[in-house]
Amino acid sequence: MIARIFVTLKPGLLDPQGKTIKQALESLGFKEIKQVRVGKLIELELNHSKAASAKRDVERMCQKLLANPVVETYRIEVRR
């Protein structure tokens, strides 16, 4: 079972890294960019056989450690 967690800054929080990357892309000639935000991908390989229980455990991992609820949100994908 593979779980992929996308951790991103909460919308509305300034992302200076994203802003810098946007400027870099624009300087390379890519003009159609509205916004860039940078996050993290955390990939877990799990022993679970059922996706539902994997998702439940990963949810708890996110709340306890993997994401800081003050400034980050997360999205979980689980697949075999």
Binding site: L9, L13, L14, P16, Q17, T20, L65, L66, N68, V70, V71
Partner: protein
């Protein structure tokens, strides 16, 4: 009176804190290894600066689960004095002993230089040797010093007079240029509601001797000594 300086894997300001307390201020001080649960009867616990666990995941995110932190948490709930410096402040935020979080500096640069700070409040165990409004100099050295918190939490923090230091210019003004990292309302150091836990991003242990260019940081430790002697 006894100070304890916690050492996490990756802490690198523990020796400076120990040195200032022991050699400069002649205090009884011990190291506290992060894996131990025992606080060795310390009256004040210092969480020093550095890169605990390499700042992996988020600065302080893993150190907050070290065995010593459970003891530090209980100690703080019983009114024990806890001082978190730089990475130590980040660990206190991640552990919820102080409210808020750190974001990356808005300049996306690691900033290592002296800053001027305004002392906002002096009736705490950490600031009683300062004067309210005093402008002091201490060095910062960090990549994630942009303090942020929710709107309600910020209001609460201010209602509780929880802001102890703000980044300012030489005249004590909160100009944009005086804010090195974009920190909300120029916040450089805060305490919890009871006033026994403090975190600050600048390094008082690097501004405690004349040779290093400023003695202002020494006043944080002298305030603690004064507060502990009064008990």
């Amino acid at each position: 009176m006894k100070f304890g300086v916690v050492v996490f894997p990756g802490s690198n300001c523990d020796e400076d804190c120990f040195y200032v307390l022991k050699e400069v201020l002649r205090q009884n001080v011990v190291y506290l290894w992060h894996k131990d649960a025992c606080l060795k009867d310390c009256d004040c616990v210092v969480l020093p600066g550095g890169f605990s666990y390499g700042d992996y995941l988020r600065a302080g995110a893993i150190a907050r689960f070290s065995p010593i932190m459970r003891s530090v948490s209980e100690f703080s709930k019983d009114g024990g004095l806890v001082l978190g410096i730089c990475n130590g402040f980040q660990i206190l935020l991640e552990s919820g002993l102080l409210s808020g979080a750190m974001l990356r500096n808005t300049s996306i640069k690691f900033i290592c230089r002296y800053v001027t700070l305004r002392v906002e409040r002096t009736d705490t165990p950490f600031t009683n040797r300062f004067r309210t409004g005093q402008v002091v100099r201490m060095p910062i050295a960090h990549n994630e010093g942009n303090y942020t918190t929710g709107t309600n939490e910020l209001r609460q923090l201010k209602l509780q007079n929880g802001v102890l230091f703000r980044y300012c210019d030489a005249d004590g003004q909160l100009t944009p240029q005086a804010n090195p990292n974009g920190s909300t309302e120029h916040i450089a150091g805060i305490c919890n509601r009871p006033g026994n836990v403090m975190g600050l991003m600048p390094h008082p242990e690097r501004s405690a001797e004349p040779e290093l260019g400023s003695m202002d940081g020494r006043l944080v430790f002298e305030s603690l000594i004064h507060a502990m002697a009064a008990v």
